[in-house]
């Protein structure tokens, strides 16, 4: 009997995965139909996709490299969601973080990496954080919908970047529309020689754990969740709703900003237009698929990274346009949102079936698992 509660909590966790897995599975089935309709062999196509993402050591490290920006932006969006703020602005915040380090990473010279890199990441956190805090503040203060303001601020960020890379921060020869390459000390160290896998992944994983602790173990996280789940009751309990909304948006923006910085310091070393292929937008799906759980974001960002990496190989090997990978991403988002609607019904069905299916003896342990899971 001793093992039961443990087993059951594992089962309960597994149950959390059912809906997201179904969503992904459905996306692949629908994707297969699309691929077939476009005149390609779905089996070959998906084989190429999988091979491209996981087929070799080098491919896998590429997947991890691609996953990293999704990880940061996904974490950011997940935290904002916890306070019931729909941060659609991770894209702009991502750019702001990148912008900050594209400037400071060139301007600050003479510092060793172990001081410079943390300094740059902190600056990116502040830049993205401020950029997220503004819509948070507008929401808290005058009730402006953060959905609208963050989208608008995304456009502003993109415009600022496209001006800056041709203006004040353009590379010294004023030839390319991009910033100068950052100093060597600012570049994130490579983890596996011969690959592009850089320290950013480790930083991202640390941030996921930190975000989990923040949300579930700290006073601030308690308040953010309270505000998100029951703003009125939180207010009655003396929790400052506005302050927590602004803070959640700031942290959210900070993480997205850090993501932009990590991408720049680890991969591109400079800023140019279309620096982000929409990491900040996909982040919404990454966070939803993970059910706003920071640890689960690790898995869902890996999925999105794999899709992006596999798509390239799909194009090369199966000659399927990489555009289809974007279709796949869109399908995943579509199904994630679609299944979310049915989730409650599904959960209820499951909860009611369980005691009967498993007999009265298992019921006690099942209850505990459900409780600790809530």
């Amino acid at each position: 009997m001793k093992a039961r509660p443990h087993l059951d909590s594992v089962l309960a966790a597994a149950r959390q995965l059912i809906i997201p897995s179904l969503a992904v599975l459905s996306a692949f089935v629908a994707g297969a139909v699309v691929v077939a309709a476009a005149g390609f062999n779905p089996v070959q196509t998906f084989a190429a996709l999988l091979d491209g993402a996981f087929g070799s050591g080098i491919n896998f490290t590429e997947t991890l490299v691609k996953s990293t920006p999704y990880l940061f932006t996904g974490l950011g969006v997940a935290i904002a969601f916890r306070s019931r703020s729909f941060n659609i602005g991770a894209e702009g915040q991502f750019y702001m973080g990148a912008l900050a380090v594209s400037w400071l990473g060139v301007a600050i010279t003479g510092l060793p990496s172990f001081i410079l890199i943390p300094l740059l990441l902190a600056a990116a956190f502040v830049a993205g954080g401020a950029y997220g805090a503004i819509p948070g503040y507008l929401k808290a203060k005058v009730g402006a919908s953060e959905i609208v303001t963050t989208v608008m601020m995304n456009s502003i960020a993109v415009q600022i970047v496209s001006w800056i890379i041709k203006g004040p921060l353009q590379e010294p020869r004023h030839f390319y529309p991009e910033t100068a390459e950052i100093v060597n000390a600012a570049k994130l160290p490579v983890l596996v020689p011969g690959t592009r896998l850089h320290l950013g992944l480790v930083i991202g994983l640390a941030m996921a754990v930190a975000a989990y602790i923040l949300i579930f173990k700290t006073v601030l996280g308690f308040q953010i969740r309270a505000v998100g789940s029951g703003a009125l009751a939180a207010e009655y309990a003396g929790i400052n709703v506005r302050r927590n909304v602004v803070l959640a948006m700031a942290i959210s923006g900070g993480l997205a900003g850090m993501g932009g910085a990590v991408e720049l310091l680890g991969v591109t070393w400079k800023l140019y237009s279309n620096f982000s292929p929409g990491y900040g937008y996909s982040a919404i799906a990454v966070a939803l698929l993970a059910k706003r759980n920071p640890l689960a974001v690790i898995l869902t960002s890996l999925l999105f990274g794999a899709l992006a990496t596999g798509a390239n190989n799909m194009q090369r090997a199966a000659e399927v346009p990489a555009m289809l990978a974007s279709v796949m991403q869109a399908l995943v988002i579509f199904f994630v949102l679609g299944y979310a609607v049915y989730e409650d019904r599904f959960a209820r069905y499951w909860a009611e079936r369980k005691p009967r299916d498993r007999g009265p003896h298992a019921a006690a342990a099942g209850k505990e698992a459900a409780g600790s899971n809530a």
Binding site: K217, F222, R225, A226, S229, A234, G238, A364
Partner: protein, 516 residues
């Protein structure tokens, strides 16, 4: 052939994990009968009704409607067979009109487009038949609770309900509205419809029903003819012991005033909700606020808490001016509040019981340790509260508040507020939804807090509760205090004060204590 029973259950059993919420329930309802269902908080009443309405499926047992075995997979099937239900917590869409709410989710009988005019006239007709006095075009959110409930009832009747389940319908009603509801129930009875009526108020049960079935710990304790029983006997069946008369330990004396409202005026949406209210609540006294709901009580409480805009006047708590400073300041100064609406203001339904119990106190030691929340402390505290306040949760302290029965949700709020050892305790309808045993307990706890020298402001529309607990009674009418009287005031005077027919300010301070 008319079947003997309109509705019958045989051996209904429902488990939630280890908890057996319904245990081999046999229940019968005759045609044209009002059957009351009595039982402690968490006895399994709502669960059983949800099963009858197709919201939950039983693990074992059978339901018979009109003598035929049926199996409900959804409320839709229940309603097709003539079973309707009005929930403890309403399920209306506030932004929709009465007519829209009534037809919402109905299977289309009229084709894809519902003719608005036809719908309106047929709803008007229905409403007329039962003396409902409902305007089909009114926005549900604008209606008072009593009328919202009628919309719920209308919804069921419109769908052809023959058996109507009312889960604690009177908990949200004024005595007047309860009278109206009873007239409706009798009318339905006259049409041969059956009603299952759930209430914790024994006098209501005695008045409206023909038979009473008592549940205890998920089992049927017994069924009795109402004419052959008494409230005391019912209480005993329900809680398994005699009900103690609420004793009131007398206090050492009065101190303060601890809470002082000075010329408080609250303006909301251009209207004056409270006009120049001056009241003192002394340490060691219970000041009751009586009045028909919606006469400024809510705004008064919110002004004390600091969430309503105070146009003029001051709120002084224990010598500190907290006017308009917000809940955090008020709480820090020593205020505790049990709000009327437990599900949106009192609790966070997704949060666990433990988390709800520290909703205010998580900010300080012992629950706070630096940036972190000390989970071990929280769990120890929650376990203690669950024990002390007899909160019945199948899943322990980590179960979400939403899994608790209505009365047990209320206990969580009370436990949290009382345990904070406040200087001033503002309680609104503290025993709403509580069974007689729990009501007795809460009343006793409130009197104990009074004996400890706390100042208690009790807002309730239940006169019995107000008169039984208060040292003084303030009566509110249209945002003003029309009366300040002793609890031995006559019902008649109280009624006139509540309608604003006269004013009477005699009890300006607690007896023999106001002079210091």
């Amino acid at each position: 052939m008319v079947p003997l029973y309109a509705l019958e259950t045989r051996g209904i059993t429902k488990r939630f994990g280890a908890l057996i919420a319904n245990d081999q329930i046999d229940l019968t309802v005759k045609p044209g009968e009002v059957l009351s269902l009595l039982g402690e908080n968490g006895a399994g009443k709502t669960t059983l009704m949800n099963i009858l309405y197709g919201l939950l499926r039983p693990d074992e047992g059978q339901i018979l409607v009109g003598g035929r075995p049926v199996e409900f997979r959804s409320p839709r099937q229940a309603i097709d067979l003539g079973v309707g239900m009005v929930h403890q917590h309403f399920m209306l869409i506030p932004a929709f009109s009465v007519a829209e709410n009534v037809v919402l989710g109905m299977r289309k009988k009229t084709g894809a487009v519902i003719s608005r005019t036809r719908l309106r006239s047929s709803i008007r007709e229905f409403s007329h038949r039962y003396n409902f006095d409902l305007d089909p075009d009114a926005r549900v959110g604008d209606l008072p609770v009593g009328l919202q409930q009628r919309v719920e009832i209308l919804k069921s009747l419109y769908r052809g309900a023959q058996i109507l389940i009312l889960d604690e319908p009177t908990a949200v009603l004024t005595p007047q509205e309860t009278g109206d509801l009873f007239r409706v129930i009798r009318h339905l009875q006259g049409e041969g419809k059956s009603v299952i009526f759930i209430s914790h108020k024994l006098n209501e049960v005695m008045e409206i029903s023909q038979r009473v079935t008592v549940l205890r710990l998920g089992k049927v304790q017994g069924t009795v003819e109402t004419s052959a029983t008494s409230p005391a006997e019912l209480a005993k069946m329900m809680i398994g012991r005699d009900l103690a008369a609420p004793s009131s330990p007398r206090t050492g004396g009065y101190t303060g005033p601890t809470l002082s409202l000075q010329g408080l005026t609250v303006r909301r949406e251009g209207k004056e909700a409270c006009s120049g209210i001056s009241l003192d609540v002394w340490g060691g006294e219970v000041l009751g606020i009586a009045g028909v709901d919606g006469n400024g009580q809510n705004e008064l409480v919110e002004a004390i808490l600091g969430t309503a805009p105070v146009a003029s006047g001051r709120v002084i708590l224990d010598g500190r001016d907290i006017t308009g400073k917000g809940p955090a300041r008020a709480i820090d100064a020593g205020l505790a509040l049990v709000p009327e609406d437990r599900q949106t203001r009192g609790l966070i339904m997704d949060f666990s019981i433990a988390e709800n119990l520290i909703l205010e106190s998580h900010r300080a030691a012992p629950f706070r340790r630096g940036f972190f929340i000390d989970e071990a402390q929280v769990n120890r505290f929650a376990a203690g509260m669950i024990q002390t306040f007899d909160i019945r949760s199948g899943g322990g302290a980590s179960a979400p508040a939403s899994s608790l029965s209505g009365g047990n949700q209320q206990k969580v709020v009370l436990a949290r507020e009382i345990s904070r050892e406040p200087k001033v305790l503002v309680v609104m309808k503290p025993t709403r939804g509580l069974d007689v045993g729990a009501t007795e307990y809460v009343h006793r706890r409130l009197l104990e807090e009074r004996a400890k020298g706390k100042a208690i402001l009790l807002v309730s529309s239940e006169l019995e509760e107000i008169k039984g607990l208060s040292d003084r009674i303030a009566v509110m009418h249209r945002g003003a205090v029309t009366g300040l009287v002793w609890p031995d005031v006559s019902e008649e005077d109280l009624g006139q004060l509540m309608t604003g027919a006269k004013t009477m300010l005699s009890a300006l301070g607690p007896r023999g204590g106001g002079e210091q």
